[in-house]
Subunit: 225 residues, 2 copies
């Protein structure tokens, strides 16, 4: 059975807003829960309702990539899971390496959410010689100097940076020189990468600012009404 | 000197897209770097350029909240920092508690980016009795049963959840019952909170999916051209 193909986006993600991609990830998780609960199909309004979005939002997000609904049926859960995974690029496994095995790095090595989405951390790197040759959560720690060789040998395509701020750009440069396609940066600083490399920065305080923004917006609205 | 006041947003964040709020956080950090480097003013195109956005994007994002530019000058960096902090609600300190002191929790306690943005973790809670009474990064760990009392006593308004998936909803329920205004959830599962409480979920795999999305979009575009 062939399912509808997603249309491809442009080189930078096709001008598709990051928020849309973020919601695709949320739809994917919800659809998996639905499948696990034995549901075969779902309407855009049901899917939206479960996540707090309107049905129009769901349809508009998916329309960036094609027409996937079936008249009188809605979405077939399994089909839509396949489609979204193909859009996100997680319809296959990605080999990932971690740079920095401090508290955060160790937390990331133990994070169950990566493997379940197709991300396999296959190597870790740290400047601390005491950690070299040790394994954390089954992942071997190498010296930073071994990075290029291991990336080549294990066909690692993505790198996660979990080093202190002052070491982040050097880690990014090393990953880029070794040929990774994308970087997820947890250091609380912006790193520069060349145009051909994808980069997302995770700033944990920024996430908290999203929380306080809605808290103060609510308080201001209450004060005015 | 009185600076322009941001207009208030609606109760849920005013229909202001999360991506806009996210970019405000990025503008804030960049403006602080500019100030540290001795810059007094900046144009929207300069600010955008430093972050990879167009000047139109910068102006449109800020226009959600008011008119802050000065003809012939651009933005006054210090003024815009004050305005964005007021919009985000970080023009004051927030007392924060952490639920779950495992690897991730300990990494969050050591994360320097929170304090610098006005977030002070003042208490931590864990189910493990061996951790009670211990301090991590200067923060005392209490039993989960002490949560409501400590939240009241220390006027804690925000809670960070860093417990395993199966314990996340119970942690959220406890925080809500104790009266927090907002929750940042790191557990790889969606938690439900009542309408009056703000919630942001951090799904670390979702961040990696943003990376792979742009990687595969670039590959598809290259294959087609």
């Amino acid at each position: 059975m062939s399912s509808p193909k997603p249309t491809s986006a442009r080189s930078d993600g096709g001008g598709v807003p990051a928020a849309v991609v973020n919601r695709l990830s949320m739809y994917l998780r919800e659809l998996r829960h639905l499948l696990a609960d034995g549901n075969q199909t779902i309407s855009s309004s049901q899917l939206g309702q479960r996540l707090g979005f309107t049905d129009a939002q769901v349809r508009k997000d998916l329309a960036h990539f094609g027409q996937f609904g079936h008249p009188g049926i809605g979405y077939r859960c399994e089909e839509l899971v396949d489609i979204i995974r193909r859009i996100l690029g997680t319809d296959r496994q990605w080999n990932v390496c971690l740079v920095g095995v401090g508290n955060l790095g160790q937390a990331l090595l133990g994070y169950k959410g990566f493997a379940s989405q197709g991300f396999k951390i296959v190597a870790a790197f740290d400047a601390d010689a005491a950690k070299h040759g040790q394994t954390y959560e089954g992942v071997l720690v190498y010296p930073a100097e071994a990075l290029a060789d291991e990336i080549q040998r294990q066909q690692i395509e993505l790198g996660i940076i979990a080093v202190p701020a002052q070491a982040a750009q050097a880690a990014a440069d090393r990953l880029v020189a070794a040929g990774v396609s994308g970087i997820l940066n947890f250091a609380p600083v912006t790193v520069s990468v060349p145009p051909g490399v994808s980069k997302v920065g995770v700033d944990l305080a920024r996430e908290l600012e999203q929380v306080t923004f809605t808290v103060v917006s609510r308080l201001r609205a209450a004060a005015e009404s």
